[in-house]
């Protein structure tokens, strides 16, 4: 064989743009991709056929991307999604926006019509670059095949570093088909002069924080999802235990400290505990680690932490000072900042009195509900039962709404990265597909998907995926036959005018499960629930439980929109 022929064979082995994609995914260590084929990604699916990577075929692109989000949240790795052009890509939009607001690392490959027809309103053409520009951390369209390997590397780098987020890579069909005749794939290095996230904290700012903390009488730590992303739970625990500083969580920060830790005050915010919200109102130093002072946490900003000097640790400088005036800004990775703070060995603040007040509050004003046999199962009881049976060790996923808030309040997590919920965007239909991704990331974990009856119906086609993969996900539908949170707001703010929130008809969920060859149960009393939940959670098969709960239960305590955290309603004894 002569040299030129060898070279030619070698070049042929490099393959097409689609082959480059698959090779690059392998180089990036991608274990599995979530996707759905279509016209513009046919070359990619053909390359996948030649050179397989585990592919999870969702039954709708939205299911694929939520599964990738669940995977990313639980594993800490980047979730990868493939979808075709036009409708395939637009079906991903909700998931992309969700991942953006909740800072989840995703790389999304969308097919695109051939470069020769882009801009002609070709069949299945959509300007996905334009559509996703405001809801991605960054996006690319591959215009030259030479750039493709570098773009893939950059996409993974951007998605997974700094403040994580979704990155879209749009691949025209002719680029996937084009043969790549350059052998220098390994030389294509990342070139991102405008992207250098700061991870190490500034020393002077750390000194200021140390001073503020050691002089504090009523210090408080607000731990957000940044602590989980940075895998800094151990450092957080060490820090608060050493300095005896109480901790509260944002919704997404739950699990960053064990739910039963004696310094943990429960979740803060709109449906936070009395103790946590009161602590925010009364604290004199508030150290926010990796949270973004979202409006559902702060309530009316004019009344938020009125007495506190605010220290804000965040990897994204744009979050600091965005909503809450910040005395001591620290741009850093949560773990790096906590390690630096631990190194300082500063004088411990005297928090004995403060902790005593807080523990009195916890004792006198706990979360509460009125159980009553005649009313059937209360949703809070159902969540407590799930917690008791799984001992706080399960991975729990939810949609948005009442069941989400009850899960946040009553499922107390022993471990970090077990809580998968749609916080920022508040996406119905998120929880169930996310549970599939979570189970794939942690095959041995007990994954419980707590969903509402309405949200479940938005993505329940993914039951087919459970049927196919026999994943032991346990679906618990907290079925109140209505859009619970919408109904609660209509009750509270619209004089009980339940406009379109009571669902008149719903499928027989048990039969639905059976149609997918999944065991289904309906429970209507606590006795039934005890028995069925216990049996289901011990099973290695997927199970769906239609848990009928009382319809008119409300989530309390509640901070009404526009009011301050000090104005909670539905607190015991207040």
């Amino acid at each position: 064989m002569n040299a030129s022929l060898t070279e030619a064979t070698d070049l042929k082995l490099k393959g097409s743009g689609a082959d480059i994609l698959i090779q690059s995914l392998k180089q990036q260590g991608v274990e599995m991709v979530f996707g759905y084929p279509g016209g513009a990604v046919l070359p990619i699916y053909d390359a996948l056929h030649r050179n397989p990577i585990k592919h999870i075929l969702a039954r709708h692109e939205q299911g694929a991307i939520h599964a990738a989000e669940g995977y990313a949240r639980v594993s800490g790795k980047t979730g990868v999604v493939i979808a075709t052009s036009g409708p395939g890509a637009t079906n991903l939009v909700t998931g992309i926006a969700d991942a953006m607001l909740d800072s989840l690392p995703l790389v999304i490959f969308t097919g695109q019509v051939a470069t020769t027809v882009i801009g002609t309103d070709a069949f299945q053409e959509a300007d996905i670059l334009g559509i996703t520009q405001p809801i991605t951390k960054h996006n690319y369209q591959v215009k030259n095949i030479e750039d493709f390997p570098r773009i893939i590397k950059e996409a993974f780098h951007i998605a997974s570093t700094g403040r994580p987020g979704p990155v879209v890579v749009d691949i025209p069909k002719d680029i996937s088909n084009e043969l790549f005749l350059n052998n220098s794939m390994e030389d294509e290095e990342i070139n991102l002069p405008g992207y250098q996230p700061t991870t190490k904290p500034n020393y002077l700012q750390i000194q200021k924080a140390v001073k503020a903390l050691s002089n504090a009488k009523k210090p408080l730590i607000l731990a957000g999802a940044g602590v989980l992303t940075a895998k800094a739970s151990t450092e957080l625990k060490e820090f608060v235990e050493r300095y005896q500083i109480p901790v509260t969580n944002t919704l997404l920060g739950l699990g960053s400290i064990a739910g039963n830790h004696n310094l943990f005050l429960g979740m803060a915010g709109m449906h936070g505990t009395y103790t946590a919200n009161t602590a925010i109102c009364e604290c004199d130093v508030l150290m926010n680690i990796g949270a973004r002072f979202d409006d559902r946490l702060t309530g009316n900003l004019a009344h938020f932490a009125p007495n506190a000097k605010v220290i804000h640790i965040d990897i994204d400088p744009a979050e600091i000072g965005k909503n809450v005036p910040t005395a001591i800004p620290i741009v850093a990775d949560a773990k790096e900042a906590l390690l630096e703070l631990l190194k300082q060995n500063f004088e411990k603040p005297d928090t004995v009195e403060w902790l005593k007040t807080l523990s009195e509050n916890s004792m006198n004003f706990p979360l509460q509900y009125k159980a009553d046999k005649l009313r059937g199962i209360l949703p809070q009881q159902a969540i407590e039962l799930i917690h008791r049976l799984t001992k706080g060790d399960a991975v729990v996923t939810t949609d948005v709404g009442q069941h989400q808030m009850w899960a946040a309040q009553y499922y107390s997590f022993n471990h970090p990265n077990n809580w998968v919920t749609s916080g920022g965007l508040g996406t119905m239909g998120f929880g169930f597909p996310a549970a599939i991704g979570a189970q794939l990331a942690k095959p041995d974990a007990k994954v419980i998907s707590i969903v509402g009856d309405a949200g479940f119906q938005m993505t329940m086609q993914e039951l087919s995926l459970l049927q196919e993969l026999r994943l032991p996900v346990k679906i618990v539908i907290i079925n109140n036959r209505c859009l619970g949170m919408v109904r609660q707001w209509q009750e509270t703010f619209y004089e009980e005018r339940y406009s379109q929130s009571l669902i008149p008809v719903q499928p027989d969920f048990v039969k639905l499960a059976e149609a997918y060859d999944i065991q289904g149960y309906k429970v209507e009393t606590m006795e039934e629930a005890e028995e069925v939940f216990a049996k289901a959670f011990n099973s290695n098969e997927p199970v769906l439980i239609d848990c009928r709960v009382t319809q008119l239960e409300n989530v309390y305590p509640m901070v009404s929109p526009g009011t301050g955290l000090h104005e909670m309603i539905g607190v015991k004894g207040v």
């Binding site: 670059l129 002069p193 000072g321």
Partner: protein, 170 residues
Amino acid sequence: MKRIITTTVINQSGVLNRVTGLLMKRQFNIESISVGHTEQPGMSKMTFVVNVEDKEKLEQLLKQLQKQIDVIKVNDITDKAVVMRELALIKVVTPPSVRNEIYSIVEPFRATVVDMSKNVTTFQVTGDPEKIEAFIDLVKPYGIKELTRTGVSAFVRETQKPYTAQLSIL
């Protein structure tokens, strides 16, 4: 308050859309924007004038711009000594009877005639926005047929004198 912000960006398609989209998403109002190549290949410079409510909003704007992957550098140069130029093309109704009068107005502004027809003259005027405003005000009574402005382009001066007052005209 009006701020002049310059950004150095990587010159690739979509970057203008990204920056203006960001401003729209965060509810900032762009008064003018100008974009062009720089001395570095592959880099462009954008200069825009925006109206922001307060210091906090301004800080947020600068940080959000800085966060964009394609944005290399962001500067608010409003309070610096700057060279600021804008170009305007203005078609003014100029029948022969008023031509001399208009020319005498135009002269101190060092505006130039770039096109002329029987009754209409197109003037080109460059300077900072205030100068252009003043010019427009003066020729307005004669009748402006059409007007177009490029938006501000600006540089920080090499020597910074903290309290140099900007001349409003010329």
